[in-house]
Subunit: 288 residues, 4 copies
């Protein structure tokens, strides 16, 4: 959520000397529409942009299917180029209306916005680079800006905070799992060996990830008794270890919900358990 923090600052109200007040006001207005989501216009812009991104992603997806391309290839190219032009204009306007263009250009969203444009223009020069247009799917993360508009903001913020609060514990857990994955993968390489598909340690570690996450493609599977024993350990470990972060995370959310109860004591009846927003004791009516 803090991915384009200060780039969203509007141009200074007292614009530089070389800019007329009208131009300044126009830039201010454009900025508000594009970067803010509180106004009706800003909200409409965000939704329209998201719709365009979705259409663009669908067009790129369909274009990759042979028989659809053969049939509607021309229409899809038209759609893609129209959207590319709109996105180009949008990118230029974004650069123009922020106070510090470079900060926007180098922010996460700025880079994504640029990256989603390059493949289209590149395809004019290099054959086949059109395929890179799928990078546009990255722009979908803009969808989460939409949540700023609605009641989803509290929800996603609560999630985000719970995730951040548990990050230390989760890091310990991820390191533990990575160690397990490395040790089990290496063990499998020793046991099964290159002649049974476990060609090298990175591949064996990949197998360990496939197994411990319980995905289990089956493209590589143990073929010896000892290999199956190690695989069984990996499976049971992967199957059961997920309970650890689940528990951690659940508790964090519970704690976050609890913090509505203050530790304040009523001066009259000395009872506790008042909500943080309480002004009067709920038991005897005394002012807190």
């Amino acid at each position: 959520m803090t991915l384009e923090p200060s780039t969203t600052e509007p141009p200074r109200k007292s614009g530089p000397a070389e800019e007329s007040p009208e131009s300044g006001r126009l830039r201010q207005l454009t900025h508000d529409v594009i970067f803010e989501a509180d106004t009706v216009a800003g909200r409409g812009f965000d939704i329209a942009l998201l719709a365009l991104i979705v259409v663009s992603v669908i067009a790129v997806m369909l274009d990759s299917v042979d028989w659809i391309r053969a049939r509607w290839g021309r229409s899809l190219v038209l759609v893609e180029w129209s959207i590319t032009l709109i996105f180009t204009v949008e990118y230029a306007v974004r650069l123009w209306c922020v106070r510090r263009p470079w900060r926007y250009a180098l922010s996460f969203f700025g880079i994504v916005d640029l990256l989603s444009l390059i493949p289209a223009y590149l395809s004019l020069l290099v054959e086949g680079s059109q395929m890179l247009m799928v990078i546009r799917t990255l722009r979908l993360v803009r969808a989460f800006r939409i949540f700023k508009l609605s009641r989803y903001v509290t929800e996603s913020q609560a999630l985000w905070e719970a995730l951040r609060a548990t990050s230390a514990k989760i890091t310990v857990f991820v390191l533990l799992v990575m160690t397990f994955v490395l040790i089990l993968g290496s063990a499998m390489y020793l046991i099964e060996g290159p002649e049974r598909g476990f060609r090298n340690i990175p591949l064996s570690v990949y197998w360990a990830i496939v197994t411990m996450t319980t995905v289990g493609y089956g493209d590589m599977a143990p073929d010896t008794a000892w290999g199956r024993l190690v695989a069984s350990i990996a499976m049971i470990l992967g199957y059961s270890i997920i309970i650890v972060p689940t528990g951690i995370f659940s508790v964090e959310i519970i704690m976050a919900h609890k913090q509505h109860v203050s530790t304040q004591v009523c001066p009259n009846c000395t009872r506790e358990g008042h909500d943080t927003d309480a002004a009067y004791c709920k038991y005897c009516g005394t002012r807190l």
Copy 2:
């Protein structure tokens, strides 16, 4: 549970002029048996109907197995047509005894009831459409009406409410996962490409779903080092991200069980959100 809300209204007690009081009473009675589950008759009807649906589904399932059809095909056809006739009569009676037939016909259950009839009659005209009789499995959702009868009602209602209360958070989560699936699927299409089975982006997105939900059929699996890296990220993400909705949902049920907040409104300041054990308004100190 609100799938056939106002269609279940009985015909007006004071029936229209063109209907004799006896007929009106009969319709009222039929309505109560078919749509209500509080009386003994209504309860018996619901259970009998559910038994018929289960028999019907089993008959259609067995009929699809070649050797069973070869042996008992005739008996199965008999069973299917008997049930079809009963369902047809039931549908007609339902239409007759509700006050607003169209509202029932267009409700979720009304459409399902009709859809489960059409394939049988269609099979008289079009060869092979008998297969469509599996649509009848949809009628199984009627099973959940049975819960209205028993102690399950509180259980399923608690579940339902917890699901509804978390729907905003779950929506954020699903959108997040969908974005991940699209980005990872597209990345895989770029990396592995059509020549290694990732023929187009929709197919790659399907692979991403198979991987992130940890199903892992293995019909498509990465074959390059970079592909395996992206696949590993997808797996670990899918494996660990499920803790988020689990935590959210657990907390919601806990909160639902606690329900310390009453629906009481302060008579002085008209604000809500008081605890059930509160004797005084926590905002203005007035006695509740």
Copy 3:
């Protein structure tokens, strides 16, 4: 845990007239050793029996491996027959020392004990029935009797109660999943059809179970665009729906833990939150 309730009753202290007091005392003693786990002898018997069961299961397992059978087949047969004889004697003694032999013989453990004997004797008559000796693994459930001895008793009881308390909610959930499985399996049969491996509806329902539980063998996988769409829905549903029972069960255990706090109010200071085992108010020291 209530699998052999009244069968464990000792023979009446005042034995019938035709039994000498010494014999009665011996039966009482034998009964206590075999069925009770509180005494040192009873505990020793249970552990020795469990060890024998484990050895027996390992012997049967090893006997099924071709090269082990070829090498140590004779020793394994010896072990198996020794244990079979011991189990036979044990079964006879059990029958002898309980007051109501038929109730034991027809109890769950009684049937398992008998079933684990039959295949061995049957193998003398029918060739190949030795394979049925794997039924002996069922006797492993006796392991859970051991928990009666130790601190595990409270643990398993708490688990059991939480499971029982949530059984209504879990039943609703299982019915819901079964309905989904039937509907999705039938849909897949319609979409993919017999020519693409979905030969009949029971098989398609099996595929739906494989998919929704995220096992994903890959022996059957969708091959059409619509089939993949339905499969994606099945996967996402199966992947996410597990959060429902997880939440339900977590909450139940929390509730079970909470019940240590009584609703008693101190007669002196009128404060609540006392433990159920508290005799004095923890705030002011008044007798409760």
Copy 4:
């Protein structure tokens, strides 16, 4: 965390007579740097060692990939031998500076440290034993020592304690699952039999593990109607049973967070278990 408890004791401050005070002080200093993590030097040593271990593991992993070995094999050998020498010196110094060398040598970390050295030297004598150098990945568990330095200590300790507190319940659960796995695997061996890939019981049990953990490689899959039924039971059991330990563990962490129970002992009746907010003994009413 208690893997090298008393071996980390420094040499006695009052060194034995045959050791000069300077040598004693040097050993004390070396000990502190290597075994303690509180000082700046100790911290630096731990991080440097971890970096070396990671480099060593990466070198061994890359060395196992054919084309990388063909290209940079010589450099990798150089890196591996440099690190081997450093680890050898480290091992010698560790032995020298602890008071009881044997206790360190036989501790978990001592054995891992030695094991990570042997394969390198063995490769000079026996061809191909270089592959065993992957054992070095085991040294990665030293990474968890690093947590002693940082805020991770509380996190990992909380996790550890929750795991230990739930160990009894988890043991019951694991035994239950193992019993299920054995029974289902044996059943599958009886049903599908050796001719359909379920060659022997250990292999069938391996299949049951693959299925119940929802990994589902697909290298073995049921092929008969009854086999599919048993497989379905195994899948649904494995899919749903994981909610049990998840619930147990979640609750344990919540309890750990609450910790209302102080370690205070009543001065009058010497009983424990008082809440942290208790002013009077809840058993005898004495002021705490």
